[in-house]
């Protein structure tokens, strides 16, 4: 991107921020980091590309808050691996983007910094989707070339769909999580937002590296194996999981879905109907495992070593750290309670272990649906299977902000239904991408590949644009 274009984007940041609340912290040195055209001898792959990074990813120069009062103005002494890689590639950070506290939420409303709003609807405050709400909003508002989010159960794909962006969640383990503040790390995945597929591809190219600091990073050996497996074809078999064909889907979304299918058929791909029965259990599995991991991961926020600490006391009614920890938002609190309930000794076998078992069943069913082998499970692939899966990314269009609130107070599980299309892939660690079907409309389809089939998935997604 040219220096001039970058400057003119930066000039709009403060106005956009006022309108949509996309950022938690802005990078004060942003302009100085831009390289004047022609000055740079060795042009780096992402030189002068502007990006924002979700505020649950550690950065040394700007605070890292997770959208929480508990970490308000916390400054990490180290950079996340993704931050280092992007910096080395010449990309320029505009700031940290807003999010649902610790990544928990699908609306972008549960942040200590207030809700983020959807730039597709400048005249009416509309839900942008979460939890990577600010990452989506800032790209949609054209102040960034790309942004980094995290996707645990749909937190990149859902806001991407609501803001008409490409939102890519790669296979689990391809991008380092070192420095990514854990919500549920058996699913937490760094993802990429952009309007341009070529930008998504080059950013993924920069970030798709083994990192020895991340114990879940995909090993060099397996990466080599993946490269050998990835042979592009001109015609793919694409399956529609019947479990993801839901009733009561708005007609705009339905016709968007059909439009995508027609496009794919027109470019020579074949559409099939497939069944992955365990998908219907995805939400209960997800909402058993993710809160359990969250309850565990968030146990460290006691205020003693960093972050917010209650002024008056460290314990209340014999409960250590209760005064400090009561500063978590309500959504986080209820997930911690739920998670601890799932882990307590009376329910562990009934809930957590059962959910783990069903998760394995789900992965086996995915393996059975794909022709591509799964290098992690050792599944050789099913010759009668499909290459990719397709579904809608969301069950609805983004609601107005004013309609969102009552829903979640009357029935706390209601907003979780938004994750119905996205959680199965998170549980299986599969690469999945939201592709906008109609320009500037919140209508997106989700394409899904077998584990590790990321590059062919991106090529296929490009055909839909």
């Amino acid at each position: 991107m040219s220096f001039k274009a970058a400057i003119s984007r930066l000039d709009r940041v403060s106005k956009i921020q006022k309108q949509y609340n996309a950022f938690t912290y802005l990078n004060p040195n942003c302009k100085e980091l831009l390289v004047k055209d022609g000055l740079c001898n060795t042009k780096k792959p992402l030189t002068n590309l502007l990006y924002g990074i979700k505020d649950n990813i550690a950065t040394r120069n700007i605070p890292t808050s997770c959208g929480s009062k508990l970490l308000q103005s916390y400054k990490s002494p180290f950079d996340a691996t993704v931050v280092k890689l992007l910096e080395n590639a010449g990309a320029v950070s505009v700031g940290k983007t807003n999010l649902d506290e610790f990544g928990m939420g699908s609306g972008g409303l549960f942040s200590h910094f207030g809700p983020t709003k959807n730039p597709l609807f400048p005249s009416q405050d509309t839900v942008v989707g979460g939890s990577s709400s600010g990452s989506a909003a800032a790209v949609a508002a054209d102040v960034l070339d790309f942004s980094i989010g995290t996707d645990t159960g749909g937190s990149v794909r859902l806001p991407a769909a609501y803001t008409s962006l490409i939102g890519f969640k790669p296979s689990y383990g391809r991008i380092s999580r070192f420095g990514v503040i854990a919500y549920a790390q058996s699913m937490d995945t760094v993802g990429i937002f952009s309007k341009s597929m070529s930008v998504v591809k080059s950013v993924f190219g920069i970030l798709d590296k083994y990192d020895k600091k991340d114990p879940t990073s995909l090993s060099e050996g397996l990466r080599g194996k993946l490269k050998q497996l990835s042979t592009p074809k001109s015609s793919y078999k694409i399956g529609i999981p019947q479990e993801l064909l839901q009733d009561n889907i708005p007609s705009e979304l339905q016709s968007g879905f059909l439009l995508a299918l027609e496009k794919l058929e027109a470019s020579g791909h074949e559409i099939y109907c497939v069944s992955i029965p365990q998908m219907i259990n995805s939400l209960p599995i997800y909402y058993t495992l993710a809160p359990a991991e969250a309850a565990s991961n968030l146990a460290r926020y006691d205020g003693l070593r960093y972050g917010y600490r209650d002024d008056t006391a460290d314990s209340k009614d014999d409960t250590l750290f209760a005064p400090t920890r009561s500063a978590f938002g309500n959504e986080v609190k209820s997930r911690i309670v739920l998670g601890n309930y799932n882990l307590c000794s009376e329910s562990f076998d009934n809930h957590y272990i059962k959910a783990q078992r069903l998760r394995v069943d789900l992965i086996n069913e995915f393996d059975n649906a794909f022709t591509h082998p799964n290098i992690l499970t050792g599944s050789p692939g099913n010759q009668n299977g499909v290459d990719f899966l397709i579904s809608l990314s969301t069950i609805n269009l983004p609601p107005a902000l004013s309609n969102y609130g009552p829903d979640c107070t009357s029935d706390p599980t209601n907003p979780y239904i938004n994750d119905i299309f996205t959680t199965p892939m998170s549980l299986a660690g599969l690469p999945a991408i939201n592709v906008p079907v109609v320009k500037s409309k919140p209508i997106g389809v989700q394409l899904v590949g077998q584990y590790g089939d990321d590059s062919r998935l991106l090529d296929l997604a490009a055909e839909l644009l």
């Binding site: 990813i57 990490s76 002494p77 058996s186 114990p215 359990a292 565990s296 146990a299 460290r300 006691d302």
Partner: protein, 535 residues
């Protein structure tokens, strides 16, 4: 008040203690052992939990203080040491063990959970065998079975400052690798408990996996005690062997009294955790208030995968185990006493030691071999034992000289030569002692690194036994000694044969004057001739 409580308590614990035949003691141990690895369990910070108190929170990485966004990476050295221990304890090693999180809030627990192995521990089963001949127990053999071995993190340390009304947290110990070993409740008396602790302690030192010190907390022992199958009580905060034994005694008597008074019903069904004050056990918590640790498999740490061949090669690389070493030393050709064998094979606490047991044992065995070649049929196994265990070690301590340095100047071959000179009466024992001390002293002060030339030294100090004795000269010396005696009764006693032992005194004087270079029997004969002793 405290003083009174103390003396009352210690009287109970010490005086008149005996096990009552109708009240059977049943004990199990839970031992936490800090591993002496270079780095911590899941981070690269230095494993030095006892860094001087002036450097609190010095050995802490971002992970150790639980900064957001950090992740654990398993230190492979921990797996190596755990494997050694499991092999030595005959445990079945789990080829695919996993880590779990144990949740509880505490100020020195920075993550809000401890990473441990709850569901799938590193090793299961195994045993440590105690024997009457080696371990001071009443039974000929007593096998203590093990439940499991698990790898886990140590916590930080809280330092309470009562006067300031606050506590300080030191995380140097946080994330230090521990192995928790749990035994079956196989102990039925205190000797077994003491012997097991000593034996286990020596084992971890012998394998080089821990300092095994109770005083520093590198090894921590919890004991569970039950009497006549009543619910067990777990005893914690036991800083050393004597408090472990005293606490068990105290707890045994307390439980017996409860049973005798019929009060156990009040407690039945509740297992209790009690601490040790130094004089009595006090309730810390009981079952009703037990924390639910909400164990969860760690969602990001990979399982510890081992192959049988890897375990095999670790087993082959291990030194001979202490019991085998002891038994070897106590049989042909060494024939050491248990006490001497333990000096060579049982590790001390390792603080400011001048040698390791491994080095000492090697020096002994090498010297023994050289000596046995030189002496052939005339081998006297006591000679190397006495000269190494008593003379050499005594001198090393006196000179604060390390065995390694001593061995450079005075290697086993030379030591064996010295033994031969003594055995063949080429030099007297006294001269031998002088010579050994001189060599070590020189080594210490002038860093003499060249192996010494014994012959030249003996020449230069004129230490050779005097082969040809001028009988007149001998007579002169003896007369001189007799003249010096101021007590005529002494001489009378010798002549009359009433105080035969006094002759030894005269011989001793002669030995001293000749620095041992004239054989004592020559003196004895000369004195007898002079005094015309008839007996």
């Amino acid at each position: 008040m405290l003083q009174l409580a103390r003396s009352f308590g210690s009287r109970i614990a010490k005086k008149g203690f005996h096990f009552l035949p109708d009240f059977k003691l049943k004990c199990g141990l839970e031992i936490h052992t800090q591993l002496s690895t270079q780095n911590k369990l899941f981070s690269l910070s230095t494993n030095d939990p006892f860094a001087s108190a002036s450097l609190p929170n010095h050995h802490t990485s971002f992970f150790d203080v639980s900064l957001p966004g950090t992740q654990p990476t398993l230190n492979p050295e921990v797996v190596l040491l755990a494997t050694k221990l499991a092999v030595a304890l005959n445990s079945r090693i789990n080829m695919n063990s996993r880590f779990d999180r144990k949740h509880y809030f505490y100020a020195d627990q920075p993550m809000g959970y401890q990473i441990t192995q709850h569901y799938s521990p590193f090793a299961k089963g195994g045993f440590l065998e105690l024997s009457g001949s080696l371990d001071t127990i009443d039974e000929d053999f007593k096998r203590i079975e093990l439940v499991q071995l698990q790898i886990e993190q140590d916590t930080g340390k809280s330092v309470y400052r009562g006067s300031e009304g606050r506590s300080l947290i030191d995380l140097n110990r946080s994330n230090v690798p521990l192995i928790e070993m749990v035994t079956q409740p196989n102990f039925t008396d205190l000797k077994q408990v003491r012997a097991f602790i000593k034996k286990y302690q020596n084992l971890v030192r012998h394998l080089g996996i821990s300092t095994g010190d109770l005083e520093t907390g590198a090894m921590r022992v919890d004991v569970n005690v039950s009497v006549n199958e009543h619910p067990r009580v777990e005893l914690k905060n036991l800083p050393n062997t004597s408090s472990i034994l005293s606490a068990v005694k105290y707890e045994y008597q307390r439980q017996v009294e409860l049973i005798q008074s019929g009060e156990t019903d009040r407690y039945s069904g509740f297992s209790e955790t009690r601490g040790w004050t130094g004089s009595s056990t006090v309730k810390l918590r009981s079952k009703e208030t037990t924390i639910d640790y909400r164990y969860m498999p760690d969602p990001e740490l990979p399982s510890v995968k081992l192959s049988p061949s890897a375990v095999q090669s670790v087993a082959q690389s291990m030194p001979e185990l202490p019991d085998a070493v002891l038994r070897g030393l106590m049989s042909e050709p060494y024939n050491l006493t248990l006490k001497d064998a333990k000096i060579l094979a049982i590790k001390g606490n390792g603080h400011d030691q001048l040698y390791t047991q491994t080095d000492l044992l090697k020096f002994y065995l090498d010297t023994f071999n050289c000596y046995s070649e030189l002496s052939g049929q005339r081998l006297n196994p006591k000679l190397p034992t006495n000269w190494i265990i008593h003379e050499l070690l005594g001198n090393l301590n006196r000179l604060q000289l390390t065995l390694a340095k001593a061995a450079e100047a005075f290697p086993p071959q030379k030591f064996a030569e010295l033994l031969m000179l003594i055995q063949d009466d080429k030099i007297s024992k006294a001269s031998g002692k002088l010579l050994l001390f001189h060599i070590l002293d020189e080594t210490n002060t002038s860093s003499l690194a060249q192996p010494v030339d014994l012959g030249a030294l003996i020449e230069s100090f004129d230490l050779n036994t005097i082969e040809k004795i001028d009988m007149n000269e001998l007579k002169e010396i003896c007369i001189g000694i007799i003249d010096e005696i101021s007590d005529p009764k002494l001489i009378e006693g010798i002549v009359s044969g009433k105080k035969k032992n006094s002759l030894k005194f005269l011989v001793g004087q002669g030995m001293r004057m000749s620095q041992g270079r004239i054989k004592p029997y020559l003196f004895e004969q000369a004195f007898k001739d002079l005094l015309e002793v008839k007996w």
